[in-house]
Symmetry: C2
Subunit: 226 residues, 2 copies
DNA sequence: TCCCATCCATACGGTAGCGTATTGACAGCG
DNA sequence: CGCTGTCAATACGCTACCGTATGGATGGGA
């Protein structure tokens, strides 16, 4: 799909990038198996002859498509939030954003599902690592120590990944997008994935510290024991 | 692998269950694509002739293997915790268990990666739905309303799924199993995924309520943290 | 205009797997 | 001993895809 070759009959020749984009589209709605030379050629209204002029083999196409994806994905879905001044609100917004939309995630899921291929795994790893790092910085910005920021970032990213999977494999478990239960759950996430104000300093900042108004260095841990 | 046909030369005939188990083994270490008649036959030291006597086609084998898996998976990894009396400790233990071991999860991941196949998707959905329901009951048992229990169960299960993915695709982001960072993160999870004592009653029970007075009902919170 | 680089079509051979048809081995039982 | 049912081997055709070889087509510059 997209703006490549929907109209079969235009006489424009194909570029390597057109093939790469077509491969990405195929990944989005058929998975990695969709990146097959002959089917792609049919879909583009040409034959293999074209493909093997632009690429040496299927692997090369896949690599190119992955590079294209990684490029497009850089900063997504965070880039629009860089100018949110309040770090706490920025985190809330990224949590909401990321667990709401599915737009960017279809390709990611297809790639992750094919992570047995070391080439694919490398790209998935890079993209995800960058995302986690971004989250980590956001958490540091609200006052967490580097260690705690890492933990929260890891937690939030696993919620994101797991939520994707739930929405795909168990749609019944996910509230309908415009229901009140949906917005309540998002609000719930915004709370569950943000550390307490009073839990900023302790070594193991935890979300639950009732009655721990004090902020010793690492004393707040046992402070809950009533 | 496993106890099926490692020794090529034993003259015992094969049963349909032997094929199903071999299929499961293949899923575990090659993914769904490993469920292929001829490769399996080679692995079992026989030929297709055997297979097509026991099964009508590949689909039938897959179905049988999935049934076998669902059966084995029923209750896992929760069954050993049913007799934990304290509901709060039971939740802590399941959180720890589930995010620690990878034993049971290889097949799950392979299946989930192939969830485009509707047959596979059906099994994955059933197993996961059951697991979420179990978690939901656990959360109800610590005093949450049904709605809140659902939310927490969903959250915890997505953390579990996402953690699996992180450990597979970004091993660098996951602390080494016997490091202190590892046990600290597990402790962190046990807190992040358990609601506050004082957050039991509010409609949207949240993990973060600094300064709220503690209710003494289930206050035996965290005796952990050596 | 002629030529050459660019891009594509056609035809071919090769591999891997599915499924079928037929034959073969073998054990238990009459 | 021979029959029969059970399980496996062999051989075959079929599909889908990868990659190669080679021969058009087409358009822009010398």
């Amino acid at each position: 799909m997209s703006a490549t070759r929907d109209t079969i009959n235009d006489k424009t020749r194909l570029s390597a990038d057109a093939w790469a984009q077509a491969a990405l589209d195929a990944i989005a709605d058929q998975g990695i198996a969709g990146v097959a030379v002959e089917p792609l050629a049919r879909r583009l209204g040409v034959t293999k002859g074209s493909f093997y002029w632009h690429f040496s083999n299927r692997e090369a196409l896949l690599k190119r498509a992955l590079e294209r994806w990684e490029e497009q994905e850089t900063g997504v879905p965070f880039q629009s939030l860089e100018n949110e001044p309040d770090p706490r609100r920025r985190l809330q917004r990224v949590i909401r954003e990321v667990n709401t939309s599915l737009r960017t995630s279809r390709i990611y899921q297809a790639l992750s599902a094919a992570a047995d291929d070391p080439l694919i795994a490398a790209f998935v790893t890079r993209v995800s690592t960058r995302r986690i790092e971004t989250l980590r910085q956001y958490y540091e910005a609200v006052g967490l120590s580097p260690d705690n920021a890492s933990r929260w970032a890891r937690l939030t990213y696993s919620v994101f990944l797991g939520t994707l999977q739930i929405r795909r494999d168990m749609p019944g478990e996910w509230p309908h997008t415009d229901s009140t239960e949906f917005s309540e759950y998002i609000a719930f996430l915004e709370r569950a994935l943000l550390p307490d104000d009073d839990a900023m300093n302790p070594d193991l900042a935890a979300p639950a510290h009732p009655g721990a108004a004090l902020t010793g260095t690492l004393a707040a841990n046992t402070a809950t024991k009533s």
